[in-house]
């Protein structure tokens, strides 16, 4: 990747003392705006053929037979490959038990004996063009023996339920419980107890670019090259190599420009195994571009959860205890690598969030059903748990007769670094401050006056608040704090090239986050270079900078930590080079914007080009450590826990007769620690908020009672568009992390976690005169009318 022609803009802007913290325009934009970026479907290699997958139309069925003769007879069809064909050439896709109480599972990439959800692949047709591949796909005759479908968690967990995975002897794939203090005792004696059941619907990332793969296999060495639209090239290699039965050094994973991920593209999918395996089997490069139906029916789903939550309050509205039980509808397979625990497990772990509560009970479960797998989509189960807790608190405020903002303010932890009741090492924030800021920005008191007036005229406006904390910078410490027994490794390499420009490579990736810009800002500051002399590269597992990729709001923290550590080593060598050339002590050298000089003597400077030339070609005049290590350094960073926080507030107007919701205002206060680039922070918040609004009002990967999939097109899986979203007010508080390098926290998921509960609370507030409260998302007009009709309206 190249920074393109964008550097001119940096020159035009006044050069800041530090780049981090500045609203620097993105370096990656020009090629994207010009239509010159290369996404997966823009790539091709000579001899390439195209794959189409034969998929199950049934939610649950045995495969009796597969007849590929008619497909093979079609001119242009090259091969038809089944699961049985691949079984000899690939290993099963395994997921270990992440915790006690969680089942380890295993599956073939392509179903052999039975299918477990609509869209489950059973064969691959390879042909000269995508059109011919689909023609061939339609000619493959599969004889099915339909099995009773398991369309929901209730069916899955009932005695005698049909088994989704017959090797497990249960559909109950995960169970866990956390109990701290004596919550039951508190509930017995509390002045107020409020309970709520909340059903979160099924949604997903659904990036506008679907997934896609292009694979080829070197006939001599057996080495596989895989281009894939993934968020995590190195981790894909590590996870995929054993499944393909190749050593890691014979699998190259390249991820080109990625058209949005949102978590969908940080998993290992059956096609990731099948496409390279087929390319190896037939000896030709194979390309597969997922279509939208496949993306919706066969990608990962997210957030569907049955939540039961209850809070015990004293007479003053002080939270004494909170209990929650979260059951994820995990779909038909455990997603790789996160498993369905990513939803209910995360919801349980964040149950008390930033509230000061002394007693907690949290239970999490996941069941297999005949739906697509649940994976790690933006906001994961935190968003579902946030919905349950924050709507419960609004119900409690109404029940007890306390203002909902006041109730929350009475129960916030202080903003100082501390361990919370779940053992999370909070690194400082602005919990009450962000709520107060959102309250003031949205004009709370004035709104309440206007609300009363309009209600008298038959108009129903409502306001809702949703304060949150978000675990960010996901790495070993934060994963373990969240209950996942996994480890991470992330590194970056900083190299000063002979002409004094610098190349930064990272195991992170970028699919809209602007890392070519923000990580260049970090590197420029850390090295003391001009930003136009920095190039950030990523997207290939052939890079020596191993990393786990970009997801889970991790890249600002991990990128800063790794790059600053590597850059510090290189900078130290540059200072020594300068000291040598300037005949001074390295401690007395200043290096900024690409020029080094002795402190207090700016007239006599040497440029980094001179330093680099000396560093490469200065032979034995160079300092020893430059002779030994050159001008390159690799550093790893496994960050401590970091938690962003903030508050989202929403104003809606409900049309009770039509059950429609007009979202009129949205205020998002975000505290993600030190901001690398506020321009990009705003973009991340705005986009995440929009997805949160989708979860609240629109998005529903619905299945019928018979397991039929009802959301296979974008006519039925509804994104928010320009007309469903208001203009947002995006506000910031900047509380540096007490823990991470540079005081940085992540920001990617906050809006998606917080916005749904803000919108739902606003709706419940609007319809509170009718004595009902929202208990599910998405809040569709049909649901809202049902609720209001039930209330006699």
């Amino acid at each position: 990747m190249s920074p393109g022609s964008g550097t001119a803009d940096v020159n035009q802007q006044a050069r800041p003392a530090r780049y981090t913290g500045e609203r620097i325009k993105r370096l990656e934009d020009p090629r994207l705006l010009m239509g010159r970026a290369r996404f997966i479907d823009d790539l091709g290699v000579p001899g390439m053929v195209h794959a189409a997958f034969v998929r199950s139309p049934h939610p649950h069925a045995r495969i009796v037979s597969i007849d590929n003769r008619a497909a093979l007879a079609l001119d242009g069809v090259v091969a038809v490959v089944t699961g049985a064909d691949l079984a000899a050439e690939t290993a099963e896709m395994e997921v270990g038990a992440m915790l006690n109480g969680v089942e380890a599972t295993s599956r073939p990439a392509i179903a052999i004996s039975k299918v477990r959800h609509v869209g489950d692949p059973v064969a691959v047709v390879v042909a000269r063009s995508p059109y011919l591949a689909e023609d061939g796909r339609d000619l493959v005759r599969v004889e099915w023996e339909p099995l009773p479908p398991v369309p929901d968690v209730g069916t899955a967990l009932a005695d005698g339920a049909p088994l989704i995975d017959e090797a497990l002897e249960t559909n109950h794939v995960a169970h866990g419980k956390i109990e701290i203090g004596d919550p039951d005792g508190q509930f017995e004696t509390a002045a107020h107890v409020c309970r709520k059941t909340f059903k979160v619907g099924r949604s997903t990332g659904a990036p506008v670019e679907t997934r896609g793969l292009l694979a080829e296999c070197d006939a001599g060495s057996g080495a596989i090259t895989l281009w894939t639209s993934t968020q995590m090239p190195h981790l894909t290699r590590t996870l995929l190599a054993p499944m393909l039965r190749v050593p890691e050094n014979k699998l190259s994973v390249h991820s080109p420009e990625v058209g949005g991920g949102f978590g969908l593209k940080c998993h290992i999918f059956p096609e990731d195994v099948a496409v390279p395996a087929v390319a190896r089997r037939i000896g030709r490069p194979v390309k597969w571009i997922e279509d939208r139906w496949e993306n919706l029916s066969g990608g990962v789903h997210s957030k569907e959860m049955d939540c039961e939550v209850e809070v015990a309050l004293d007479a003053d509205g002080k939270m004494l205890a909170i209990r929650g039980a979260f059951v994820t509808d995990g779909g038909a397979y455990s997603s790789i690598p996160y498993t369905p625990l990513i939803d209910s497990g995360c919801a349980a772990g964040m149950l008390p969030s930033m509230y000061d509560v002394g007693h907690v009970a949290a239970q999490f479960d996941a069941a297999y059903t005949n739906k697509a797998s649940v994976g790690a989509i933006r906001g994961v189960g935190w968003a579902s748990g946030q919905l349950a807790r924050e709507t419960l608190l609004d119900d409690a405020a109404r029940q007890v007769g306390i203002d909902p903002v006041e109730l929350r303010l009475r129960n916030m932890l202080s903003s100082e670094p501390q361990k919370n009741i779940m053992g999370l090492s909070l690194d400082g924030g602005s919990y009450a401050e962000s709520l107060a800021m959102a309250r003031d920005a949205i004009g709370y008191e004035e709104f309440r006056r206007r609300q009363d007036e309009l209600r008298a005229g038959g108009r129903y406006l409502g306001i809702g608040f949703s304060p949150f904390i978000e675990p960010t910078g996901m790495a070993t410490a934060s994963a373990r704090a969240a209950g996942f027994d996994i480890a991470y490794f992330d590194s970056a390499t900083v190299t000063v090239d002979p002409d004094g420009t610098a190349t930064v490579s990272t195991g992170l990736h970028s699919h809209g986050q602007g890392h070519e810009t923000t990580l260049a800002q970090v590197a420029a500051d850390a090295l003391g270079f001009a930003i136009e002399d920095i190039r950030v590269v990523f997207g290939s597992s052939d890079s020596q900078s191993y990393g786990m990729g970009t997801y889970a709001s991790r890249s600002a923290v991990v990128g800063s930590g790794t790059i600053m550590a590597a850059a510090a080593q290189v900078r130290a060598r540059l200072l020594e080079l300068a000291a040598t050339l300037l005949e001074a002590d390295a401690r007395d050298i200043d290096l900024a914007h690409g020029v080094a000089h002795v402190k207090g003597a700016p007239a006599r400077g040497v440029t980094v080009a001179e330093l680099a030339g000396f560093g490469y070609f200065g032979y034995d005049a160079r300092p020893d450590d430059v002779q030994e290590s050159g001008l390159t350094a690799t550093a790893a960073y496994d960050p401590p826990e970091t938690y962003a926080n903030g508050t989202t507030a929403a104003v809606v107007e409900v049309d009770p007769a039509l059950g429609t919701v007009d979202l009129q205002r949205l205020v998002a206060v975000e505290d993600c620690g030190r901001m690398l680039n506020p321009f990009i922070v705003d973009g991340q918040v705005a986009g995440a908020v929009a997805q949160g609004v989708g979860i609240a009002l629109l998005e529903d990967l619905a299945y019928g009672e018979d397991g039929e999939f009802l959301a296979g097109s974008l006519m039925h899986y509804l994104y928010p568009s320009t007309t469903e979203l208001p203009r947002y007010d995006l506000l910031h508080i900047e509380t540096p992390s007490s823990a991470s390098t540079g005081g940085v926290k992540g920001v990617g998921e906050a809006g998606t976690i917080a916005a749904p509960a803000a919108v739902v609370n606003a709706i419940s507030d609007a319809i509170s005169p009718f004595g009902v409260s929202i208990d599910r998302v998405p809040v569709t007009p049909v649901y809202l009318r049902d609720l209001l009709r039930g209330a006699g309206r």
């Binding site: 993105r26 934009d29 994207l32 239509g35 058209g259 939208r292």
Partner: protein, 169 residues
């Protein structure tokens, strides 16, 4: 005389970005695929092939059209404009500049469709209100930005009023 064709491939000649392009297409070849894979104009992106997402939007005789809902053979004689035309001289078009200034793109996949839809709007209505912009763009989905930057970009481009200056007509 009316044109007839079998299901086989034949030469199709299209006027794209002011130049004549010839390629082989079946009647069923979608304009999106023809532009991308035959003419190698890969700036036009495909997000759903269901006519919903708007990523594949191109201009046909100046109007925004879903290239995934159009067959290449239907477009003979029409004037097609793709994102590649906007910056044909190597510099960003004012609408593209505005998108950059307002952070109106993140992953960039939906962006070409938005740019062309916005261009058509500004040609018809050089100073649209925010509500008009939102209505006009409502058939293009963006999953990254929450649209704020996009709407701001069109407002900025309109305010700069230079959108029609360098038409590659």
């Amino acid at each position: 005389m009316s044109e007839t064709a079998t299901a086989g491939r034949r030469l199709v000649e299209l006027n794209v970005n002011g130049m004549s392009h010839v390629g082989l297409a079946e009647p069923r070849t979608l304009l999106s695929d023809f532009l991308r894979h035959d003419l190698e104009l890969t700036g036009t992106h495909v997000g759903c092939e269901q006519g919903v997402c708007g990523a594949c939007t191109v201009l046909v005789d100046g109007e925004p059209v879903r290239s995934c809902l159009t067959f290449a053979v239907q477009m003979e004689g029409a004037r097609i404009e793709t994102v590649e035309a906007l910056s044909a001289d190597g510099a960003l078009h004012p609408i593209q500049e505005a998108f950059r200034n307002t952070h109106g793109l993140q992953c960039g996949f939906c962006t070409p469709g938005f740019l062309l839809t916005a261009k058509a709007l500004l040609e018809e209505n050089p100073s649209p209100s925010e509500a008009e912009i939102r209505e006009h763009l409502s058939g293009n989905v963006c999953r990254c930005t929450g649209y704020q930057g996009i709407v701001d970009a069109v407002l900025e481009a309109a305010a700069n009023g230079k959108d029609q200056a360098d038409e590659p007509r």
